[in-house]
C-alpha cells in the first residue's frame, strides 16, 4: 500500500490542484454575483419573470420529449437495419451534431424551413400552399433542439441496443415474440437507464439554450432565462435585473444537476461490435425502419447541404479581404487551439487523479476517497451548473471592478468558458479509458519500475491516443462554434467567427453571411475529422 502510494502521489497532486482552482473560480464567481446585488428585493418577482420561467421549462420539456422520441425511433431503426451501405458513415455523421456550431444549424434550418425557404417554395410550386412563418417562435426552437439532440440521443441509444446480448434475441425469437413484445421485454430494460441519463442531459442543455433561442425566438414571448439575462445586460443595461434572473437560473440548474447526479454522457469514440441482430424483420417493419432512417437523414443533411449551396454563391474574395473577418478568424483559431490544449491537460490530470480513488489496490480504501472522487468529478462538471451567460455576467462584473484592457478580460472569459464547456465531455471519454489502462497495466508498470515519463510513452499514450485525439477535436470544435460568452464580450475589436456570423445575419449582407457560414462549417468538420489524426490515433478496438 505505502509503496504504491509513493508511486502515485505525483498523479494525485496536479489533479487535486486543478480541481481546487476550478472550485475557487466558481466560488469567486458566486461571490462576485452575490456581492453585486446591492438592493435586490427577492420578494418582488415581476409577472414577466414567471412567464420567462414557465416558457423556459415548457420548451425544455417539449424539446427533451421530442428529441427522445425521435432519437429512440432512429436508434431502433438503425439497430435493426445493420446491413445497408453507408450505415457507418451515417452514424458517424449523426455524431458530428455534437460539434456543429448551433448558429450554423439555425442558419441552415432557416434556409430550408423559413417562410421563403426550400420547403415552402417547393410546396408553393407544387400545391400552391405555403406553411408560413412557423419557424419564428416555439416551432423553430423545437425543430432546432430536436435537430441537435435527437442525433445525440440516437447515438447513445444505439450503443445500448448494440450492447444487448444476441442470445436474448435468439431466445425471444424462439418464443415467437412480436416486434412490440421484443421491444418491451428485451430492449426496454436495457434502454431505460440510458434514457434517463440522456433525458437529464438534454433537458439541461435545452434549459440553458442560448444561441437558438436568441435567433429563432423572434419575440420576447419566446425568451428563455439565458436570453433574458443577455437582453437585460445588452439592451437594458439593467444589471440588477440580470442578476436576479441569473440567481434564479443558477438555483434551478444546481437543483437539476444535483437531481441528475448520475450524469453520464455516454459518449465515446470506440466503435461497438456491429454484429447484426439475427432477426429478419417483417416486411412492414422493415419499410418503417428504412423510412425513419431516410426521413431523419433528409432532415439532418438538407440544412447542411443548404449551407453549402448558399455559401458557394458568396463572393469569397470579398469576404476574405474583410478586416473583421480576418480578425475573427485568427481569434477563433487561437482560442480554439489554446482551449483544446488546456482542456486536454486538465482532463488528463483530473482523470489521472480520479483513477487513484476508484481502484482497489490504489487508494479506494482510504476513508475519504469516495467523497474526494465526487469533488473531482464535480469540478470537471462545473459548466453544467453554471451556464455560460451567468459566467459571462460574473466576468463582466469582475471586469468592471478590476480594470484591465477589455481584450484581456474577453480572452480570459472566453478561454475559461470554452475549457469548462468541454471538460464534462472530455472527462466522460478520458476517465473510463484511463481507468482501464491502469487496471490493465499497473501491475506490469509497477513491477518494471517505469518512470512517469516512460509510463506515458510506452503504456498510456499508445493506448489512449485515439481518445486523446477525439477529446482534442471535440474541445476544438466546441470552442470554435460557441456563441454564448462572446455575445456579452463581442465588439469590433474582439470578435470570433460565430459572433461575426451573427452580426452579418442581422444586416443586409446576407450573401456574406452564407459564405461565412460555409467557411465555419468546413473548418469545424475538417477539424473534427483531421485533428484526431495528429495523435496518430486510429480507432482502437477495446
Amino acid at each position: 500500500m505505502f509503496k504504491n502510494y509513493q508511486r502515485i502521489k505525483f498523479s494525485l497532486l496536479p489533479g487535486t490542484l486543478i480541481s481546487l482552482t476550478l472550485l475557487t473560480f466558481a466560488f469567486v464567481l458566486f461571490y462576485t454575483l452575490y456581492t453585486s446585488q446591492e438592493n435586490l428585493v427577492f420578494t418582488q418577482i415581476e409577472p414577466r419573470v414567471w412567464l420567462l420561467l414557465k416558457f423556459t421549462v415548457y420548451q425544455a420539456f417539449l424539446s427533451t420529449l421530442f428529441s427522445l422520441v425521435v432519437g429512440m425511433l432512429l436508434a431502433w431503426s438503425l439497430a435493426h437495419q445493420a446491413k445497408f451501405r453507408g450505415r457507418s458513415w451515417l452514424v458517424a455523421l449523426f455524431s458530428s451534431s455534437l460539434v456543429l456550431p448551433t448558429l450554423i444549424v439555425v442558419f441552415g434550418l432557416i434556409t430550408v424551413l423559413g417562410r421563403n425557404g426550400w420547403v415552402n417554395q417547393v410546396s408553393l410550386y407544387l400545391f400552391d400552399y405555403s406553411f408560413g412563418a412557423y419557424l419564428y417562435g416555439l416551432g423553430g426552437i423545437l425543430v432546432a433542439h430536436v435537430y441537435l439532440n435527437a442525433s445525440f440521443a440516437s447515438r447513445s441509444l444505439l450503443h445500448s441496443f448494440e450492447s444487448i446480448p444476441k442470445e436474448k434475441y435468439k431466445l425471444a425469437k424462439s418464443l415467437n415474440f412480436t416486434t412490440f413484445q421484443r421491444f418491451m421485454y428485451v430492449e426496454w430494460p436495457v434502454l431505460k437507464p440510458t434514457l434517463l441519463s440522456i433525458a437529464s442531459t438534454i433537458f439541461l442543455l435545452c434549459f440553458t439554450s442560448f444561441a437558438i433561442v436568441l435567433v429563432l425566438g423572434g419575440s420576447p414571448a419566446y425568451n428563455t432565462l439565458e436570453v433574458a439575462i443577455y437582453e437585460a445586460v445588452k439592451l437594458d443595461f439593467d444589471i440588477a435585473m440580470a442578476l436576479k434572473l441569473a440567481l434564479i437560473q443558477l438555483g434551478l440548474t444546481t437543483l437539476l444537476v444535483v437531481f441528475s447526479a448520475n450524469f453520464r454522457t455516454h459518449i465515446s469514440n470506440l466503435k461497438t461490435a456491429t454484429q447484426a441482430i439475427a432477426w429478419e424483420e417483417k416486411r412492414e417493419v422493415k419499410y418503417l425502419q428504412r423510412g425513419i432512417i431516410f426521413l431523419f437523414t433528409l432532415f439532418f443533411i438538407l440544412p447542411l447541404f443548404a449551407i453549402v449551396v448558399d455559401g458557394l454563391g458568396a463572393d469569397f474574395s470579398k469576404i476574405l479581404q474583410e478586416k473583421l473577418f480576418i480578425k475573427s478568424f485568427f481569434t477563433s483559431m487561437g482560442l480554439a487551439t489554446l482551449s483544446s490544449i488546456i482542456t486536454l491537460l486538465f482532463a488528463i490530470l483530473l482523470s489521472d487523479a480520479k483513477r487513484n480513488l476508484s481502484l482497489r489496490y490504489r487508494l479506494e480504501d482510504l476513508p475519504f476517497s469516495k467523497l474526494f472522487n465526487i469533488v473531482l468529478s464535480f469540478s470537471g462538471n462545473l459548466y453544467l451548473a453554471i451556464p455560460s451567460l451567468i459566467m459571462g455576467l460574473g466576468f463582466f462584473l469582475l471586469s468592471q471592478r478590476y480594470e484591465a484592457p477589455l481584450a484581456l478580460w474577453s480572452t480570459v472569459a472566453l478561454l475559461t468558458a470554452n475549457v469548462l464547456m468541454s471538460l464534462p465531455f472530455a472527462q466522460s471519454v478520458l476517465a473510463p479509458a484511463m481507468q482501464r489502462t491502469a487496471q490493465r497495466y499497473d501491475r506490469l508498470v509497477f513491477s518494471l519500475n517505469l518512470t512517469k515519463i516512460q509510463r506515458w510513452v510506452y503504456v498510456e499514450y499508445p493506448y489512449l491516443k485515439s481518445s486523446l485525439g477525439y477529446v482534442f477535436a471535440l474541445a476544438f470544435c466546441f470552442s470554435l462554434g460557441d456563441l454564448g460568452m462572446i455575445a456579452l464580450f463581442g465588439s469590433d475589436e474582439f470578435s470570433t467567427l460565430p459572433w461575426y456570423l451573427y452580426q452579418l445575419m442581422g444586416s443586409y449582407r446576407s450573401s456574406d453571411a452564407s459564405g461565412v457560414a460555409l467557411i465555419l462549417l468546413v473548418i469545424t468538420l475538417s477539424a473534427f475529422i483531421f485533428l484526431p489524426k495528429l495523435f496518430g490515433g486510429n480507432h482502437v478496438k477495446d
Partner: protein, 334 residues
C-alpha cells in the same frame, strides 16, 4: 551597456511622442448600422468633414442606436467613442442620466423642426415620422389606423423592432401609448398575433421585409423615397394614419471622456451646415433641419406628410419608459 539602453529608451520615447503629435486625430463616432452602410450617410459625411478639417472620421456601426449607447456604457472609461450619433429625443434623457455626455454649448434656436427641442447635451441633426411601409403590388388594402392594423386577417404579418434596442421600436410603443393611454396593454395583446418577429434594429427588420417575410414593416414616411430615387421603384408606400404619426428627432452628443473635444464640437456645428443638410435626405432618408438653397429632391413631394407629429416629452418618456416597455413585454408574453 546601461547607457545604450537609456539612449534607446529615450529614442523610443521621442519617436512615440513625435508620432503622436504628427498623426492625424481620429474622430470616432458610434451610430446605428444603416447610417454607416455604403449607401448610408456616413461615407459622404466623412468625406465632406475630412475636407474641412485635418482629421480621420471613423464611424462605428452598431445594430441599433440604443445598442450603440449600451456599447459605450459597457466599455465604460475605455470607450473609444468621441460622439454618439443616432439616439432620438425620446431616449436622450436616458442617455443623459448616465452622466457620460458633455454640454454642447451651441445655439439650436434657429433649427427648422416641427417641434421645439433643446437639451444641454444633445443636438438634433434630422427628423422624420414613423410609418408602416408596404408593397402596393402585394397589399391592396392597407390598414389606415392603428386600430385597423390590429384588426387585419390572421395571416397578416408585420415586423417591428425591439423597443429596448431600437429607437424605431420605442417610437411605436410611444405612438400606441399616446393614442391608447392606459389601454395600450390591451392594444398590444390584440396586435401581438400579427407580429412576425421582433428585430434588434431597423436594418434587420427592413431586410426581412424586402425579402418578402412580412406584409408591413415599421419604418419611416421617408422610406419610399429611397426606392424611388435609388431603384426607380414606385410600389413602396406608407399607410397614412389620419390621427397623426409619431415623430422622431435624431440627436447626437459628445462623450465627456473624448480626447478630441474641440474637433467633436466642430462636428456638431457641421451637422447644422448646408452641406450636411444636403446629404441627409438621400442617404439617411430623413428631413434635414436646415433650409438649403438646393431644397429637397422632387421624390420627397410624393411622400405622405402626416397631419400631426405626435411626440411625448423626453423627460416624461424617461420617467415611464420602463413601465411602458414592461407593459409591452407582458402583453406579448401572453
Amino acid at each position: 551597456m546601461i547607457k545604450t539602453i537609456q539612449l534607446l529608451l529615450l529614442l523610443l520615447l521621442l519617436s512615440t511622442t513625435a508620432n503622436a503629435s504628427g498623426t492625424k486625430p481620429t474622430l470616432t463616432i458610434y451610430t446605428y448600422d444603416s447610417f454607416t452602410a455604403s449607401w448610408g450617410a456616413a461615407p459622404k459625411i466623412k468625406e465632406a468633414f475630412e475636407k474641412l478639417h485635418y482629421c480621420n472620421v471613423k464611424f462605428v456601426g452598431v445594430s441599433s442606436a440604443i445598442g450603440a449607447l449600451r456599447k459605450i456604457q459597457l466599455e465604460g472609461k475605455n470607450t473609444k467613442a468621441d460622439i454618439l450619433l443616432g439616439l432620438d429625443t425620446s431616449i436622450a434623457q436616458v442617455a443623459n442620466k448616465t452622466g457620460l455626455f458633455a454640454k454642447h454649448e451651441l445655439n439650436t434656436s434657429k433649427l427648422v423642426l416641427p417641434v421645439t427641442y433643446s437639451d444641454e447635451n444633445f443636438v438634433p441633426y434630422d427628423y422624420s415620422y414613423f410609418a408602416f411601409v408596404y408593397d402596393e403590388e402585394k397589399l391592396k388594402n392597407p390598414p389606415l389606423s392603428l386600430e385597423a392594423l390590429a384588426s387585419m386577417p390572421k395571416d397578416f404579418k408585420i415586423i417591428m423592432q425591439d423597443p429596448r434596442s431600437s429607437t424605431v421600436g420605442l417610437g411605436l410603443l410611444l405612438w400606441v401609448k399616446s393614442v391608447y393611454g392606459t389601454k395600450a396593454g390591451e392594444y398590444w395583446k390584440k396586435l401581438s398575433p400579427h407580429i412576425l418577429t421582433i428585430t434588434k434594429g431597423w436594418s434587420e427588420a427592413y431586410g426581412l421585409f424586402l425579402r418578402g417575410e412580412a406584409d408591413m414593416v415599421l419604418s419611416y414616411t421617408t422610406s419610399p423615397a429611397y426606392h424611388m430615387i435609388e431603384e426607380h421603384k414606385y410600389n413602396f408606400k406608407t399607410a397614412n394614419f389620419p390621427k397623426g404619426h409619431y415623430g422622431q428627432v435624431e440627436v447626437a452628443a459628445i462623450l465627456k471622456s473624448s480626447k478630441n473635444q474641440a474637433l467633436a464640437k466642430k462636428f456638431l456645428t457641421f451637422m447644422h451646415s448646408e452641406t450636411f443638410a444636403n446629404i441627409i435626405p438621400t442617404t439617411n432618408w430623413a428631413y434635414p433641419i436646415v433650409k438649403t438653397k438646393k431644397g429637397l429632391p422632387t421624390a420627397f413631394e410624393k411622400l405622405n406628410i402626416p397631419s400631426k407629429m405626435l411626440l411625448i416629452d423626453g423627460k416624461e418618456v424617461e420617467r415611464n419608459r420602463k413601465k411602458i416597455v414592461n407593459e409591452w413585454l407582458e402583453a406579448l408574453g401572453r
